[in-house]
Amino acid sequence: MSSTTDHFSKLPTEINVNFLRRLDFRSLLACREVSRLLRTIVDGTAALQYIIALGASGLRVGSLVGPDTGSPECMAILDKYNTAWRNLEWTEHKILTETRDMETKWHLSGGVWAQLDESETAIHFYQLPSHLRGIKERQWVLQFDVKVETFNMDPSQDLLVLVHSKPLPVANHRFRYDLFITLRSLSTGDEHPLAVEAQGEDYHLMLDVGKNVRRSICPIQVCGNNIGRHVYDNLNVWNWRTGVQKLFRKCESFVFLDSDHVLVVSVYGHDTPTPSPCVALNPR
Protein backbone atom coordinates (compact mmCIF):
# COMPACT_ATOMS: atom_id res chain seq x y z
CA MET A 1 0.00 0.00 0.00
CA SER A 2 1.37 3.33 -0.92
CA SER A 3 0.63 6.21 1.38
CA THR A 4 -0.03 9.70 0.03
CA THR A 5 3.35 10.84 1.32
CA ASP A 6 5.08 8.33 -0.90
CA HIS A 7 3.45 9.76 -4.00
CA PHE A 8 4.94 13.12 -3.37
CA SER A 9 8.39 12.23 -2.08
CA LYS A 10 8.93 9.84 -5.01
CA LEU A 11 8.52 12.59 -7.58
CA PRO A 12 11.67 13.16 -9.62
CA THR A 13 13.48 16.37 -8.67
CA GLU A 14 12.85 17.89 -12.12
CA ILE A 15 9.11 17.70 -11.50
CA ASN A 16 9.46 19.42 -8.14
CA VAL A 17 11.57 22.15 -9.70
CA ASN A 18 9.06 22.46 -12.54
CA PHE A 19 6.20 23.45 -10.22
CA LEU A 20 8.38 25.34 -7.74
CA ARG A 21 9.73 27.66 -10.44
CA ARG A 22 6.15 28.79 -11.14
CA LEU A 23 5.75 30.14 -7.60
CA ASP A 24 6.37 33.63 -6.26
CA PHE A 25 9.19 34.09 -3.78
CA ARG A 26 6.91 34.19 -0.71
CA SER A 27 5.32 30.86 -1.61
CA LEU A 28 8.80 29.46 -2.27
CA LEU A 29 9.94 30.51 1.20
CA ALA A 30 6.84 28.82 2.68
CA CYS A 31 7.68 25.70 0.63
CA ARG A 32 11.16 25.61 2.19
CA GLU A 33 9.47 24.99 5.54
CA VAL A 34 7.26 22.12 4.30
CA SER A 35 9.77 19.25 4.40
CA ARG A 36 13.46 18.39 4.23
CA LEU A 37 13.09 17.28 0.64
CA LEU A 38 11.54 20.55 -0.52
CA ARG A 39 14.03 22.62 1.46
CA THR A 40 16.92 20.75 -0.14
CA ILE A 41 15.48 21.37 -3.60
CA VAL A 42 14.71 25.06 -3.00
CA ASP A 43 18.12 25.74 -1.46
CA GLY A 44 19.97 23.69 -4.06
CA THR A 45 18.43 25.00 -7.27
CA ALA A 46 19.97 28.15 -8.74
CA ALA A 47 16.81 29.18 -10.64
CA LEU A 48 14.73 29.02 -7.43
CA GLN A 49 17.35 30.89 -5.42
CA TYR A 50 17.25 33.55 -8.12
CA ILE A 51 13.47 33.97 -7.69
CA ILE A 52 13.97 34.42 -3.94
CA ALA A 53 16.88 36.83 -4.42
CA LEU A 54 14.79 38.87 -6.88
CA GLY A 55 11.87 38.89 -4.43
CA ALA A 56 14.15 40.14 -1.65
CA SER A 57 15.01 43.08 -3.93
CA GLY A 58 11.36 43.78 -4.73
CA LEU A 59 11.69 42.31 -8.22
CA ARG A 60 10.10 39.46 -10.14
CA VAL A 61 11.37 37.08 -12.78
CA GLY A 62 11.68 39.06 -15.97
CA SER A 63 12.35 42.36 -14.17
CA LEU A 64 16.00 42.39 -15.15
CA VAL A 65 17.77 41.92 -18.45
CA GLY A 66 19.46 38.61 -19.16
CA PRO A 67 18.31 35.00 -18.71
CA ASP A 68 16.25 33.90 -15.69
CA THR A 69 18.19 30.75 -15.02
CA GLY A 70 19.90 31.84 -11.81
CA SER A 71 23.26 31.59 -13.58
CA PRO A 72 26.20 33.58 -12.16
CA GLU A 73 25.61 36.04 -15.01
CA CYS A 74 22.10 36.99 -13.90
CA MET A 75 23.09 36.96 -10.23
CA ALA A 76 25.76 39.52 -11.17
CA ILE A 77 23.16 41.72 -12.88
CA LEU A 78 20.96 41.57 -9.77
CA ASP A 79 23.95 42.43 -7.63
CA LYS A 80 24.72 45.43 -9.82
CA TYR A 81 21.10 46.57 -9.53
CA ASN A 82 21.15 46.34 -5.72
CA THR A 83 24.52 48.09 -5.46
CA ALA A 84 23.26 50.92 -7.65
CA TRP A 85 20.28 51.44 -5.33
CA ARG A 86 22.33 51.13 -2.15
CA ASN A 87 24.86 53.72 -3.26
CA LEU A 88 22.39 55.76 -5.32
CA GLU A 89 24.61 55.58 -8.35
CA TRP A 90 23.00 57.53 -11.16
CA THR A 91 23.64 56.28 -14.63
CA GLU A 92 22.12 59.37 -16.20
CA HIS A 93 21.33 62.96 -15.24
CA LYS A 94 18.71 65.01 -17.01
CA ILE A 95 16.56 68.08 -16.30
CA LEU A 96 12.97 67.44 -17.27
CA THR A 97 11.13 70.61 -16.25
CA GLU A 98 12.94 73.41 -18.05
CA THR A 99 9.88 74.91 -19.70
CA ARG A 100 7.01 73.69 -17.57
CA ASP A 101 6.95 75.01 -14.03
CA MET A 102 6.41 72.82 -11.01
CA GLU A 103 3.10 74.53 -10.19
CA THR A 104 1.34 72.37 -12.67
CA LYS A 105 0.25 68.88 -11.72
CA TRP A 106 2.79 66.10 -12.06
CA HIS A 107 3.24 62.48 -11.05
CA LEU A 108 6.21 60.14 -10.88
CA SER A 109 5.10 56.53 -10.76
CA GLY A 110 6.40 53.20 -12.03
CA GLY A 111 9.40 54.81 -13.69
CA VAL A 112 7.29 57.29 -15.66
CA TRP A 113 7.29 61.02 -15.08
CA ALA A 114 4.11 62.78 -16.21
CA GLN A 115 3.26 66.47 -16.18
CA LEU A 116 0.20 68.42 -17.18
CA ASP A 117 1.24 71.45 -19.22
CA GLU A 118 -0.02 75.06 -18.96
CA SER A 119 -2.83 74.50 -21.45
CA GLU A 120 -4.18 71.82 -19.09
CA THR A 121 -5.19 69.79 -22.11
CA ALA A 122 -1.95 67.88 -22.68
CA ILE A 123 0.14 65.56 -20.52
CA HIS A 124 3.84 65.10 -21.24
CA PHE A 125 5.32 61.71 -20.38
CA TYR A 126 8.89 60.64 -19.92
CA GLN A 127 9.80 57.02 -19.30
CA LEU A 128 12.96 56.82 -17.21
CA PRO A 129 15.47 54.49 -18.84
CA SER A 130 17.11 51.56 -17.05
CA HIS A 131 19.88 49.54 -18.61
CA LEU A 132 19.70 46.77 -16.00
CA ARG A 133 15.95 46.41 -16.37
CA GLY A 134 16.07 46.74 -20.15
CA ILE A 135 13.82 49.83 -20.22
CA LYS A 136 14.41 52.35 -22.99
CA GLU A 137 14.09 56.10 -22.62
CA ARG A 138 10.86 57.31 -24.20
CA GLN A 139 8.99 60.58 -24.44
CA TRP A 140 5.45 61.13 -25.60
CA VAL A 141 2.59 63.63 -25.30
CA LEU A 142 -1.12 62.91 -25.00
CA GLN A 143 -3.44 65.68 -26.16
CA PHE A 144 -7.04 65.77 -24.89
CA ASP A 145 -10.08 67.72 -26.03
CA VAL A 146 -11.06 68.56 -22.44
CA LYS A 147 -9.43 70.53 -19.65
CA VAL A 148 -7.79 68.08 -17.27
CA GLU A 149 -8.48 68.91 -13.61
CA THR A 150 -6.19 66.29 -12.25
CA PHE A 151 -4.85 62.87 -13.15
CA ASN A 152 -3.03 59.86 -11.80
CA MET A 153 -1.56 56.77 -13.37
CA ASP A 154 -0.28 53.23 -12.98
CA PRO A 155 2.26 52.49 -15.73
CA SER A 156 2.36 48.78 -14.80
CA GLN A 157 -1.28 48.53 -15.90
CA ASP A 158 -0.91 51.07 -18.74
CA LEU A 159 -3.55 53.05 -16.85
CA LEU A 160 -4.13 56.80 -16.93
CA VAL A 161 -6.96 58.21 -14.78
CA LEU A 162 -8.20 61.57 -16.04
CA VAL A 163 -10.51 63.89 -14.15
CA HIS A 164 -12.10 66.67 -16.14
CA SER A 165 -14.99 68.99 -15.41
CA LYS A 166 -17.69 70.97 -17.14
CA PRO A 167 -18.70 74.22 -15.41
CA LEU A 168 -22.40 75.07 -15.75
CA PRO A 169 -23.70 78.46 -14.57
CA VAL A 170 -26.61 78.11 -12.15
CA ALA A 171 -28.63 80.68 -10.20
CA ASN A 172 -27.10 83.33 -7.86
CA HIS A 173 -23.75 83.63 -9.66
CA ARG A 174 -22.81 80.13 -8.75
CA PHE A 175 -21.35 77.42 -10.94
CA ARG A 176 -22.02 73.76 -10.93
CA TYR A 177 -18.97 71.64 -11.77
CA ASP A 178 -19.69 68.24 -13.13
CA LEU A 179 -16.64 66.02 -12.65
CA PHE A 180 -15.95 63.19 -15.03
CA ILE A 181 -13.48 60.38 -14.68
CA THR A 182 -12.22 58.56 -17.72
CA LEU A 183 -9.70 55.75 -17.84
CA ARG A 184 -7.27 55.82 -20.72
CA SER A 185 -4.36 53.83 -21.94
CA LEU A 186 -1.18 55.53 -20.76
CA SER A 187 0.61 54.78 -24.00
CA THR A 188 -2.06 55.70 -26.56
CA GLY A 189 -4.60 57.91 -24.77
CA ASP A 190 -7.44 55.71 -26.01
CA GLU A 191 -10.04 54.24 -23.69
CA HIS A 192 -8.50 51.58 -21.46
CA PRO A 193 -9.66 48.19 -22.77
CA LEU A 194 -10.10 46.67 -19.29
CA ALA A 195 -12.08 49.50 -17.72
CA VAL A 196 -15.85 49.36 -17.27
CA GLU A 197 -17.71 52.26 -18.81
CA ALA A 198 -19.04 54.08 -15.74
CA GLN A 199 -16.26 55.07 -13.34
CA GLY A 200 -17.60 56.19 -9.95
CA GLU A 201 -20.73 58.28 -9.90
CA ASP A 202 -20.25 61.61 -11.53
CA TYR A 203 -20.06 64.39 -9.00
CA HIS A 204 -21.92 67.67 -8.99
CA LEU A 205 -20.11 70.31 -7.03
CA MET A 206 -21.49 73.71 -6.19
CA LEU A 207 -18.73 76.30 -6.17
CA ASP A 208 -18.82 80.05 -5.67
CA VAL A 209 -17.79 82.23 -8.57
CA GLY A 210 -14.23 83.47 -8.37
CA LYS A 211 -13.10 81.01 -5.74
CA ASN A 212 -10.11 79.26 -7.15
CA VAL A 213 -10.58 75.94 -5.44
CA ARG A 214 -10.43 73.91 -8.60
CA ARG A 215 -6.76 73.14 -8.09
CA SER A 216 -7.44 71.13 -4.97
CA ILE A 217 -10.40 69.28 -6.37
CA CYS A 218 -10.52 65.55 -6.30
CA PRO A 219 -7.25 63.91 -5.27
CA ILE A 220 -7.30 60.54 -6.95
CA GLN A 221 -5.19 57.43 -6.33
CA VAL A 222 -4.82 54.09 -8.07
CA CYS A 223 -3.80 50.82 -6.46
CA GLY A 224 -4.20 47.57 -8.37
CA ASN A 225 -7.84 47.17 -9.33
CA ASN A 226 -9.00 49.97 -7.05
CA ILE A 227 -9.33 53.69 -7.58
CA GLY A 228 -9.89 56.03 -4.65
CA ARG A 229 -11.21 59.56 -5.02
CA HIS A 230 -11.63 62.14 -2.28
CA VAL A 231 -14.07 64.94 -2.98
CA TYR A 232 -15.45 67.31 -0.39
CA ASP A 233 -14.83 65.09 2.64
CA ASN A 234 -16.12 62.00 0.91
CA LEU A 235 -13.90 59.10 -0.03
CA ASN A 236 -15.17 56.82 -2.74
CA VAL A 237 -13.22 53.66 -3.61
CA TRP A 238 -14.28 51.40 -6.46
CA ASN A 239 -12.92 48.59 -8.61
CA TRP A 240 -12.21 50.10 -12.03
CA ARG A 241 -12.40 46.78 -13.85
CA THR A 242 -15.84 45.85 -12.49
CA GLY A 243 -17.29 49.21 -11.42
CA VAL A 244 -18.20 47.76 -8.00
CA GLN A 245 -18.01 50.29 -5.15
CA LYS A 246 -15.73 49.17 -2.31
CA LEU A 247 -15.96 52.01 0.17
CA PHE A 248 -17.79 55.26 0.72
CA ARG A 249 -17.05 57.22 3.85
CA LYS A 250 -16.52 60.68 5.25
CA CYS A 251 -12.88 61.45 5.98
CA GLU A 252 -10.21 64.12 5.72
CA SER A 253 -7.64 62.25 3.70
CA PHE A 254 -6.70 58.74 2.62
CA VAL A 255 -3.93 56.56 1.27
CA PHE A 256 -3.85 53.00 -0.10
CA LEU A 257 -1.69 50.69 2.05
CA ASP A 258 -1.97 47.90 -0.53
CA SER A 259 -4.57 46.78 -3.03
CA ASP A 260 -6.80 45.53 -0.19
CA HIS A 261 -6.41 48.18 2.51
CA VAL A 262 -7.00 51.90 2.81
CA LEU A 263 -5.81 54.13 5.62
CA VAL A 264 -8.29 56.94 6.28
CA VAL A 265 -7.77 60.07 8.36
CA SER A 266 -10.88 61.28 10.16
CA VAL A 267 -11.65 63.81 12.90
CA TYR A 268 -13.88 62.65 15.75
CA GLY A 269 -15.25 64.27 18.88
CA HIS A 270 -14.06 63.14 22.32
CA ASP A 271 -17.11 61.09 23.07
CA THR A 272 -17.70 59.44 19.72
CA PRO A 273 -16.36 55.91 19.25
CA THR A 274 -13.58 55.94 16.65
CA PRO A 275 -13.62 53.17 14.07
CA SER A 276 -10.35 51.62 12.92
CA PRO A 277 -8.44 53.91 10.55
CA CYS A 278 -7.42 50.92 8.43
CA VAL A 279 -10.25 49.70 6.23
CA ALA A 280 -10.16 46.32 4.48
CA LEU A 281 -11.64 46.54 1.00
CA ASN A 282 -12.21 42.82 0.64
CA PRO A 283 -13.12 41.64 4.16
CA ARG A 284 -12.71 37.88 4.53
Binding site: T5, H7, K10, L11, S27, A30, C31, V34, R36, A56
Partner: protein, 173 residues
Protein backbone atom coordinates in the same frame (compact mmCIF):
# COMPACT_ATOMS: atom_id res chain seq x y z
CA UNK B 1 -5.22 -14.31 -24.78
CA UNK B 2 -4.68 -10.61 -23.90
CA UNK B 3 -7.66 -8.30 -23.54
CA UNK B 4 -7.63 -5.58 -26.17
CA UNK B 5 -9.08 -2.40 -24.78
CA UNK B 6 -9.98 0.25 -27.29
CA UNK B 7 -9.48 3.76 -25.91
CA UNK B 8 -12.36 5.49 -27.63
CA UNK B 9 -13.90 5.62 -31.09
CA UNK B 10 -11.33 8.02 -32.51
CA UNK B 11 -8.56 5.46 -32.03
CA UNK B 12 -10.31 2.68 -33.93
CA UNK B 13 -8.21 2.32 -37.03
CA UNK B 14 -9.85 3.44 -40.25
CA UNK B 15 -8.59 3.58 -43.77
CA UNK B 16 -5.38 5.48 -44.17
CA UNK B 17 -4.90 5.83 -40.41
CA UNK B 18 -1.48 5.63 -38.86
CA UNK B 19 0.04 2.41 -37.55
CA UNK B 20 -1.06 0.98 -34.23
CA UNK B 21 0.82 0.63 -31.01
CA UNK B 22 0.14 -1.83 -28.24
CA UNK B 23 0.65 -0.30 -24.80
CA UNK B 24 0.59 -2.49 -21.71
CA UNK B 25 -0.13 -0.86 -18.36
CA UNK B 26 1.11 -1.99 -14.95
CA UNK B 27 -2.28 -3.60 -14.26
CA UNK B 28 -1.75 -5.66 -17.43
CA UNK B 29 -4.37 -3.91 -19.58
CA UNK B 30 -3.58 -3.95 -23.29
CA UNK B 31 -4.41 -0.69 -24.96
CA UNK B 32 -4.25 -0.19 -28.72
CA UNK B 33 -3.62 3.34 -29.86
CA UNK B 34 -2.65 5.00 -33.10
CA UNK B 35 1.01 5.83 -33.34
CA UNK B 36 0.61 9.47 -34.30
CA UNK B 37 -1.55 10.19 -31.24
CA UNK B 38 1.33 9.13 -29.03
CA UNK B 39 3.99 10.93 -31.06
CA UNK B 40 3.78 13.74 -28.51
CA UNK B 41 5.62 11.39 -26.17
CA UNK B 42 9.39 11.48 -26.74
CA UNK B 43 9.67 8.12 -24.96
CA UNK B 44 7.19 6.43 -27.33
CA UNK B 45 8.76 8.11 -30.36
CA UNK B 46 12.15 6.68 -29.40
CA UNK B 47 10.61 3.23 -28.98
CA UNK B 48 9.03 3.52 -32.42
CA UNK B 49 12.39 4.54 -33.91
CA UNK B 50 13.78 1.37 -32.37
CA UNK B 51 11.02 -0.66 -34.09
CA UNK B 52 11.93 0.90 -37.43
CA UNK B 53 15.59 0.04 -36.93
CA UNK B 54 14.97 -3.60 -36.07
CA UNK B 55 11.77 -4.00 -38.18
CA UNK B 56 10.19 -5.62 -35.14
CA UNK B 57 7.17 -4.18 -33.38
CA UNK B 58 6.34 -5.29 -29.90
CA UNK B 59 4.20 -4.15 -27.01
CA UNK B 60 5.46 -1.20 -24.95
CA UNK B 61 5.30 -1.91 -21.22
CA UNK B 62 4.56 1.08 -19.02
CA UNK B 63 4.98 1.31 -15.26
CA UNK B 64 1.62 2.90 -14.47
CA UNK B 65 -2.02 1.84 -14.38
CA UNK B 66 -4.46 1.81 -17.30
CA UNK B 67 -6.49 4.44 -15.45
CA UNK B 68 -3.56 6.89 -15.66
CA UNK B 69 -2.57 5.75 -19.14
CA UNK B 70 -6.06 6.34 -20.51
CA UNK B 71 -5.98 9.84 -19.05
CA UNK B 72 -2.68 10.52 -20.81
CA UNK B 73 -4.06 9.12 -24.08
CA UNK B 74 -7.10 11.39 -23.70
CA UNK B 75 -4.71 14.34 -23.44
CA UNK B 76 -2.68 13.26 -26.46
CA UNK B 77 -5.84 12.65 -28.52
CA UNK B 78 -7.16 16.11 -27.71
CA UNK B 79 -3.98 17.78 -28.98
CA UNK B 80 -3.38 15.32 -31.80
CA UNK B 81 -1.42 16.98 -34.58
CA UNK B 82 -1.22 20.29 -32.76
CA UNK B 83 2.07 21.93 -31.93
CA UNK B 84 2.15 22.83 -28.22
CA UNK B 85 4.53 25.37 -26.85
CA UNK B 86 4.99 24.51 -23.19
CA UNK B 87 5.41 28.09 -22.15
CA UNK B 88 2.44 29.43 -24.07
CA UNK B 89 -0.59 28.01 -22.24
CA UNK B 90 -2.88 30.74 -23.58
CA UNK B 91 -2.56 29.56 -27.15
CA UNK B 92 -5.60 27.84 -28.64
CA UNK B 93 -5.62 24.84 -30.97
CA UNK B 94 -7.61 25.72 -34.12
CA UNK B 95 -11.32 25.65 -33.31
CA UNK B 96 -10.83 24.70 -29.64
CA UNK B 97 -10.70 26.35 -26.25
CA UNK B 98 -7.37 27.77 -25.06
CA UNK B 99 -4.89 25.23 -23.72
CA UNK B 100 -4.95 26.60 -20.18
CA UNK B 101 -8.74 26.35 -20.03
CA UNK B 102 -8.98 22.81 -21.40
CA UNK B 103 -6.03 21.57 -19.34
CA UNK B 104 -7.47 23.06 -16.16
CA UNK B 105 -10.67 21.10 -16.65
CA UNK B 106 -8.76 18.01 -17.72
CA UNK B 107 -6.59 18.20 -14.60
CA UNK B 108 -9.47 18.86 -12.21
CA UNK B 109 -8.68 15.61 -10.39
CA UNK B 110 -7.60 14.80 -6.83
CA UNK B 111 -4.02 15.32 -5.72
CA UNK B 112 -2.93 11.72 -6.00
CA UNK B 113 -4.28 11.42 -9.52
CA UNK B 114 -2.54 14.68 -10.46
CA UNK B 115 0.76 13.35 -9.07
CA UNK B 116 0.26 10.06 -10.96
CA UNK B 117 -0.42 11.92 -14.20
CA UNK B 118 2.64 14.16 -13.85
CA UNK B 119 4.83 11.13 -13.11
CA UNK B 120 3.45 9.31 -16.16
CA UNK B 121 3.92 12.41 -18.33
CA UNK B 122 7.48 12.73 -17.06
CA UNK B 123 8.18 9.06 -17.81
CA UNK B 124 6.68 9.39 -21.29
CA UNK B 125 8.52 12.70 -21.81
CA UNK B 126 5.43 14.74 -22.71
CA UNK B 127 6.77 18.18 -21.86
CA UNK B 128 3.53 20.12 -22.34
CA UNK B 129 1.59 17.79 -20.00
CA UNK B 130 4.32 17.91 -17.35
CA UNK B 131 4.14 21.71 -17.60
CA UNK B 132 0.37 21.81 -17.25
CA UNK B 133 0.42 19.48 -14.22
CA UNK B 134 3.21 21.53 -12.64
CA UNK B 135 1.13 24.66 -13.22
CA UNK B 136 -1.86 22.96 -11.56
CA UNK B 137 0.25 22.00 -8.51
CA UNK B 138 1.70 25.52 -8.29
CA UNK B 139 -1.82 26.98 -8.48
CA UNK B 140 -2.93 24.78 -5.57
CA UNK B 141 -0.20 25.89 -3.18
CA UNK B 142 0.53 29.48 -4.26
CA UNK B 143 -0.04 31.93 -1.42
CA UNK B 144 -0.75 29.17 1.12
CA UNK B 145 0.90 28.80 4.51
CA UNK B 146 3.45 26.06 5.13
CA UNK B 147 0.88 24.05 7.12
CA UNK B 148 -1.70 24.36 4.35
CA UNK B 149 0.91 23.29 1.77
CA UNK B 150 1.65 20.13 3.78
CA UNK B 151 -2.02 19.31 3.80
CA UNK B 152 -2.47 19.96 0.06
CA UNK B 153 0.62 18.00 -0.96
CA UNK B 154 0.12 15.26 1.62
CA UNK B 155 3.59 15.77 3.08
CA UNK B 156 4.62 15.13 6.68
CA UNK B 157 6.68 17.62 8.62
CA UNK B 158 10.00 15.75 8.96
CA UNK B 159 12.08 18.56 10.47
CA UNK B 160 13.61 18.46 13.92
CA UNK B 161 12.54 21.49 16.00
CA UNK B 162 15.99 23.12 15.50
CA UNK B 163 15.90 22.67 11.75
CA UNK B 164 12.40 23.90 11.32
CA UNK B 165 13.02 27.64 11.15
CA UNK B 166 16.58 27.79 9.93
CA UNK B 167 16.98 30.68 7.53
CA UNK B 168 17.81 30.18 3.90
CA UNK B 169 21.56 29.72 3.76
CA UNK B 170 22.18 31.33 0.41
CA UNK B 171 19.73 34.16 0.50
CA UNK B 172 20.39 36.89 2.96
CA UNK B 173 19.60 40.50 2.23
Amino acid sequence: MPTIVSVDDSTVPGEGSSRLLLLVSSDNKHIVVEEDIMSRSRFISKQVEGFEATSQRHAILLPFSSFVLNKVIEYCSHYRGYYLLEDDPDAAPPGRSPVREWDQEFLDVDRNMLLRIIKAAHYLEIKSLVGSCARAIADMIRGKTTEEMREILGVENDFTPEEEHSPSSKCTG
